[in-house]
């Protein structure tokens, strides 16, 4: 394998891509894999932004609706922005779609990854305010099931914890590499604890609160999604208080999960993945993408990616140390990691 075979001086094109395929696969670093997943989500967001409905006045009205219930200081810029988009929908939406497409491409293109991740944080914060009304967190009853605290703020959080820097030499999970273990755990705890808090707010505790929320999701969805939502809504009918408490308890357990020993932490991350997937499929119906009017996959998918970034690293044994004849080491003893 290590030989250099001297070939014909004339040379010829030999495309051995097939052979490459058999030999080139190398495992991608976990953080890079998650960065690429984030890039794919941004790419998908960009493509979704090119949908026909986004070039109509309906998009501006959709944005304006996110101002409702917010304090004036938050709502006024949203309303102004929504009116601007209604007036210049084609030009502005083309810019929005292209920016998101470029963010995805930039994160995937290694030399541009840092710039793109930084830009994605700035873009996400702007969209969180002007496009999502801060995810409704300042309104009367934001619900984690309907997407609070907003999908894009989780994109920003992902960009922060997946930043290509290594502060912690022996990070217990991927998200701790860039910001350190303590800050990463605090970010996780804050996010999930806030979700637990939201689910206990008065509007979500009502007997029909969750039922109405889920029932309204499936109206324009394909048959099986609508049926799934219908069944879930029926199950939750008049069970709003119980369901909210159970959901809040699960979210609180997830929030403190990162402070537990690795086996328990792993179990809570599995719970986080299950809850995120359930919220994404049942509560958010894939962000309404299947209706042809979804602007993003909503918060379920990024929450799932975030959970993967907190998966406790498996402690791998170090390479075998070959004992020297003169050392006292025993054969087969492993070096410290």
């Amino acid at each position: 394998m290590a030989d250099i075979a001297v070939g014909n001086a004339r040379g010829a094109w030999q495309d051995h891509a097939s052979a490459d395929a058999r030999d080139t696969w190398r495992p991608i670093d976990a953080r890079r894999a998650l960065q690429l997943a984030l890039a794919a989500v941004w790419l998908l967001d960009g493509v979704l932004q090119y949908q026909s409905v986004m070039f109509t006045r309906a998009f501006g009205r959709m944005l304006a609706a996110s101002a409702a219930g917010n304090p004036a200081v938050i709502a006024t810029p949203i309303t102004w922005d929504a009116h601007l988009i209604e007036q210049h929908g084609v030009a502005l939406n083309t810019i929005f779609a292209t920016v998101q497409l470029l963010l995805g491409i930039g994160i995937a293109w290694r030399p541009a990854a840092r710039i793109a991740l930084g830009a994605s944080i700035a873009w996400a914060l702007a969209v969180w305010w002007l496009g999502e009304g801060l995810g409704g967190v300042l309104t009367a009853s934001p619900s984690p099931v309907s997407g609070a605290p907003g999908a894009v703020i989780i994109y920003a959080l992902l960009a922060v914890v997946l930043w290509p820097a290594d502060r912690s030499a022996a990070a217990p999970f991927t998200a701790a590499r860039a910001v350190g273990t303590r800050i990463a755990k605090l970010l996780w705890c804050t996010l999930w604890a806030s979700l637990a808090y939201f689910s206990l707010l008065a509007g979500n505790r009502t007997a029909q609160g969750l039922h109405d929320l889920i029932a309204s999701t499936g109206s324009a969805e394909p048959g099986w999604v609508a049926a799934l939502d219908g069944r879930a809504a029926a199950l939750l009918s008049h069970q709003g208080l119980t369901a909210s408490i159970v959901l809040a308890a699960a979210l609180a357990v997830i929030a403190i999960g990162v402070f537990l020993p690795p086996p328990l932490a792993r179990a809570t991350i599995v719970l986080a993945i299950v809850v995120s997937a359930a919220i994404w499929v049942i509560g958010q119906a894939f962000g309404g993408i299947l209706t042809g009017s979804g602007t993003d996959p909503d918060s379920g998918l990024p929450l799932l990616l975030l959970a993967l970034a907190y998966w406790p690293a498996v402690a791998r044994p170090g390479p075998r140390v070959r004992p020297a004849a003169t050392t006292a080491g025993r054969a087969g003893e492993r070096s410290p990691a």
Partner: protein, 278 residues
């Protein structure tokens, strides 16, 4: 309503992909490319790009939807067979990063787009939403379109990462460092480049004899010192091979990076079309 210039732009990109892929086929034929090459991939790129351009703009339509469905059915079976052969004794995650799986996904997505169009008039007026003279096209089982769009976006970013990563740094540098007339296993070249901190191409003005016989470890060769980057070795992933001097344009056209670029463009365009047709 989707402005007509958006599908128009994507269609133009697809025509460029078709042209480049066709040029690759012609040039590869002229350079007596040996059997067992990726001619099938270039053919697939040409056909997919022409089909997508026709879906995006009515004026670029060539064959009826049924004919394209048959073509992409065959293509899916072909790449399915190649993936099956590639998969022997390999774990699924290795297979997912393999060479033919993205082409299988692309073919299957094309088949789905042509076979699952809900509009009964699909064969007659098959073009994207918003294009002049076209009708709204919808896909049956739209969740399949979403899954395809996600997978295609995933492969697009994976290709971008590969282009800008291993092959873009160690590989490119190693290939510029290696000698004319040599064929090198790039695993060794890249390893050697990486052992030198990925700087194998930097200021190594030393010429290796093109006709020199014998064999030597690549790492030893690179460690020996500077190599003049007069001719190039293509180091893509694990394998590097000498490409004859001159005909720089031909080399650029035949470079695997170009094929990967075409695949990225097609993946993004396909994801766009799938989302538009949900």
């Amino acid at each position: 309503m989707l402005p007509a210039w958006i599908p128009g732009t994507f269609a133009a990109v697809m025509l460029a992909v078709a042209g480049l892929s066709a040029a690759r086929l012609v040039l590869a034929g002229r350079s007596r490319r040996p059997s067992g090459t990726d001619r099938d991939v270039d053919i697939a790129h040409v056909l997919m790009a022409i089909a997508m351009a026709g879906m995006l703009l009515v004026s670029l339509r060539t064959l009826p939807a049924g004919a394209w469905a048959v073509i992409f059915g065959g293509m899916t079976a072909w790449f399915g067979r190649r993936v099956y052969r590639e998969s022997r004794g390999r774990p699924a995650r290795v297979l997912a990063g393999g060479h033919h799986v993205p082409h299988l996904v692309h073919s299957a997505a094309m088949l789905y787009m042509f076979a699952a169009t809900a509009s009964p008039a699909a064969g007659a007026r098959f073009a994207m939403v918003g294009t002049a003279g076209s009708g709204q096209q919808m896909l049956r089982v739209p969740v399949v379109a979403l899954v395809f769009a996600l997978v295609l976006a995933g492969y697009a970013v994976l290709d971008l990462d590969r282009l800008s990563g291993t092959a873009g740094r160690g590989g490119v540098r190693a290939r510029q460092a290696l000698a004319p007339g040599s064929a090198v296993m790039a695993g060794d070249a890249a390893a050697a480049a990486s052992a030198r901190g990925g700087q194998a191409d930097v200021a190594w003005p030393r010429v290796l004899p093109a006709g020199a016989g014998g064999a030597a470890p690549a790492s030893a060769l690179l460690a020996r010192g500077p190599v003049l980057a007069r001719d190039r070795v293509l180091a893509r992933g694990s394998r590097a091979e000498y490409v004859g001097g001159g005909e720089a344009g031909s080399r650029s056209l035949l470079a695997p990076r170009l094929a990967a670029g075409c695949r990225i463009a097609m993946g993004v365009t396909m994801a766009f079309m799938l989302i538009m047709m949900i």
